[in-house]
C-alpha cells in the first residue's frame, strides 16, 4: 500500500509539475531558463523527404506564438545558433552538425560539417568555411526557399504542427481529471491548433550524412530496427 507520506510527496511534486508545465509541451518552454527566450526550442522533426534519398530536419522555435502581431514580430536572434547534431557512429556524440545563424534578413547554413571529437559538447563555433547555403527569411504569407548543392533551406514563421490537449494534460497530471483521464476524441481540444512557431527547415541528401549506426534499440533488447542516426537539436547563444 502507498504510504501517506508518499502520497503527499506525490501530490506535492505533481502540483509543482502541473504548475511548471503550464503552457509547455513537447519542448515548448520546457525550462524556466529558456522559457520566453529566442533560444527556446519547441520541437524537432526528422523524416524522409519527398525525394527518398534526402532527410528533412525541422527545428521549431519560440512557440507557441499567437497569430497576428506576436507572430509578425517574432524574429530569429542573430546571437543564437540552431544546430542539428547527427551521431552516425552510435556513441551519442555529434559527428556532423548543420548550423543555422541569422544575419539581417538572411538565414545562413553551414555543414553538414565534421566535428572533431574534442569539439563535441556544449560549445560550438560557426564552421565558416563550410557554408552550404542561405535563404531569405520568410515573413507571414511568404514561403521563400533556396537550394544549393542538393540542400534546400527555409526559415520563417509556420503553423505549429505539434498537437496536444495540453489543458487536460495538466488536469491529468495533477489528478484532478481522475478517474476519467483524458477526454475522448471530439471532446478533447488541441491547445496548439491555431498557434504558430518559427521554423528552420533543411533538406539534406543522405549521401552527406554518412552511414547510420546500428539502432540504439538493440542496446535494450528492441531488435530488428533499421540502422538509424541519432539526432538532436541544440540552441546555442554567442558568449
Amino acid at each position: 500500500m502507498m504510504k501517506k507520506t508518499k502520497i503527499f510527496v506525490a501530490i506535492g511534486a505533481l502540483s509543482l509539475t502541473a504548475l511548471s508545465v503550464f503552457l509547455i509541451a513537447a519542448d515548448h518552454i520546457d525550462s524556466p531558463s529558456v522559457a520566453g527566450t529566442k533560444v527556446d526550442i519547441a520541437d524537432l522533426y526528422a523524416f524522409e523527404g519527398d525525394n527518398p534519398n534526402n532527410t528533412v530536419f525541422v527545428a521549431t522555435l519560440q512557440g507557441p506564438l499567437q497569430p497576428g502581431q506576436v507572430t509578425q514580430n517574432a524574429v530569429f536572434d542573430e546571437d543564437v545558433m540552431i544546430e542539428f547534431n547527427i551521431d552516425n557512429t552510435g556513441d551519442f556524440k555529434e559527428d556532423l552538425v548543420i548550423q543555422a545563424v541569422r544575419r539581417d534578413s538572411i538565414m545562413y547554413f553551414f555543414g553538414p560539417a565534421e566535428v572533431d571529437s574534442q569539439d563535441t559538447g556544449l560549445t560550438s563555433n560557426v564552421y565558416v568555411n563550410e557554408g552550404s547555403g542561405q535563404v531569405e527569411i520568410s515573413e507571414v504569407g511568404e514561403t521563400i526557399t533556396a537550394t544549393n548543392n542538393g540542400m534546400t533551406f527555409f526559415a520563417g514563421p509556420r503553423r505549429d504542427y505539434f498537437y496536444f490537449d495540453f489543458n487536460r494534460f495538466n488536469e491529468v497530471a495533477s489528478g484532478s481529471a481522475a478517474p476519467d483521464g483524458f477526454f475522448p476524441a471530439g471532446t478533447a481540444s488541441d491547445f496548439f491548433e491555431n498557434l504558430n512557431v518559427l521554423a528552420i527547415v533543411v533538406e539534406v541528401p543522405n549521401a552527406l550524412l554518412g552511414d547510420a549506426p546500428d539502432h540504439v534499440g538493440g542496446l535494450v533488447g528492441i531488435n530488428g530496427l533499421p540502422r538509424a542516426y541519432n539526432v538532436w537539436v541544440s540552441a546555442k547563444r554567442k558568449q
Binding site: 502507498m2 502520497i7 511534486a13 505533481l14 509539475t17 511548471s20 509541451a25 513537447a26 520546457d30 525550462s31 524556466p32 526550442i41 526528422a46 523524416f47 524522409e48 519527398d50 497569430p67 551519442f92 544575419r103 563535441t120 559538447g121 556544449l122 560550438s124 563555433n125 560557426v126 557554408g131 542561405q134 507571414v140 504569407g141 514561403t143 509556420r158 503553423r159 504542427y161 498537437y163 496536444f164 490537449d165 487536460r168 489528478g175 481522475a178 478517474p179 476519467d180 483521464g181 477526454f183 478533447a188 491555431n194 521554423a199 527547415v201 533538406e203 539502432h215 534499440g217 542496446l219 535494450v220 530496427l225 533499421p226 538509424a228 541519432n230 539526432v231 538532436w232 546555442k236 558568449q239
Partner: protein, 236 residues
C-alpha cells in the same frame, strides 16, 4: 582582366538584359539585379560570384560569424524534459547537459535516470491515489521496465532517424525511425508510459481511466505540402 573574360562578362550581361526585357515590363530594374546576382559569374560591382556590391547579398566571407556559442536548450525526443524532469532545477540542468554525458554520476550525482523513474512512478501514484488503489508503472509494450525505459529516455535522448526506409515515431508498423510532422507523439508517449505490456492498460475501456490517448489528432494541418512541408503561419 583578360579580354576573353571581359567578352564573356559582356555577353552574360547582354544576355541578362535580353531576358529582363522579356519578363520585367515595369522596367524598374529589380529583375536586372536579381539576374546579376544569380548568373553564376562575378559581374557588376560584385565582390564575389553573385555576392557583395550594391545589388547582391553580402559575400559569406565578409560576414562576421566569429564567437563561441554555448548550449542553452536542447531536444531529442519530444516531451522528455517537459514530462520527466519534474522540477525547474532538473529541467534547467538537463538543457545544458552534454547529450552523451547525462549518465555521468559525478557530473550529475542526482541522476537524470533516477529522477525520470521517480517522476514516472509519481504519475501513477497520483492516479492510484485518486482511484484508491496502489498503482505502479508496468513494463511497456516495448518490453522496457521502469529503469530501462527511463534509462533510454535520459541517457539516449536523441531522435533515431533511419537512413533507409520509412521514418516515423510510430505508424502502426514502423517505430522509432524518425518523427514526421503528423506523428501522434503524445499518444505514443502516453502508451509507453501508461499502456503497460499490452499497450491498452489504461485506455479508457473496462472502467479504466483514459491515459494512453489525449483524444486529439493532427486535425486539418496539411501533410501533403512540398518543401518546407509545413503550412504558412496562421495570419490572424
Amino acid at each position: 582582366m583578360k579580354t576573353h573574360n571581359i567578352i564573356v562578362i559582356l555577353v552574360a550581361i547582354c544576355t541578362s538584359f535580353l531576358f529582363v526585357q522579356c519578363v520585367d515590363e515595369d522596367d524598374n530594374g529589380n529583375v536586372i539585379a536579381q539576374d546579376l546576382c544569380s548568373d553564376g559569374i562575378q559581374n557588376g560591382d560584385e565582390e564575389g560570384v553573385d555576392c557583395g556590391g550594391t545589388e547582391c547579398e553580402p559575400c559569406l566571407g565578409s560576414i562576421n560569424f566569429t564567437g563561441t556559442f554555448v548550449q542553452e536548450d536542447v531536444m531529442g525526443r519530444p516531451g522528455v524534459n517537459t514530462v520527466f524532469s519534474g522540477s525547474a532545477d532538473v529541467k534547467n540542468s538537463y538543457n545544458i547537459a552534454v547529450t552523451n554525458r547525462r549518465n555521468d554520476t559525478i557530473l550529475y550525482p542526482s541522476s537524470f535516470q533516477r529522477t525520470f523513474e521517480e517522476t514516472l512512478e509519481l504519475y501513477h501514484d497520483v492516479y492510484g491515489d485518486a482511484l484508491g488503489v496502489d498503482l505502479d508503472y508496468e513494463t511497456n509494450i516495448l518490453g522496457l521496465d521502469a529503469e530501462v525505459f527511463t534509462t533510454v529516455l535520459a541517457h539516449f535522448d536523441a531522435l533515431q532517424v533511419a537512413q533507409f526506409g520509412p521514418t516515423t515515431y510510430f505508424d502502426g508498423t514502423n517505430a522509432l525511425t524518425g518523427r514526421t510532422l503528423g506523428d501522434d507523439v503524445i499518444d505514443i508517449s502516453l502508451t509507453l508510459m501508461f499502456g503497460g505490456t499490452s499497450g491498452t492498460r489504461f485506455d479508457g475501456n473496462n472502467g479504466t481511466p483514459q491515459l494512453t490517448s489525449d483524444g486529439v489528432d493532427v486535425g486539418d494541418r496539411d501533410l501533403t505540402l512540398p518543401f518546407p512541408y509545413m503550412e504558412d503561419a496562421i495570419a490572424q
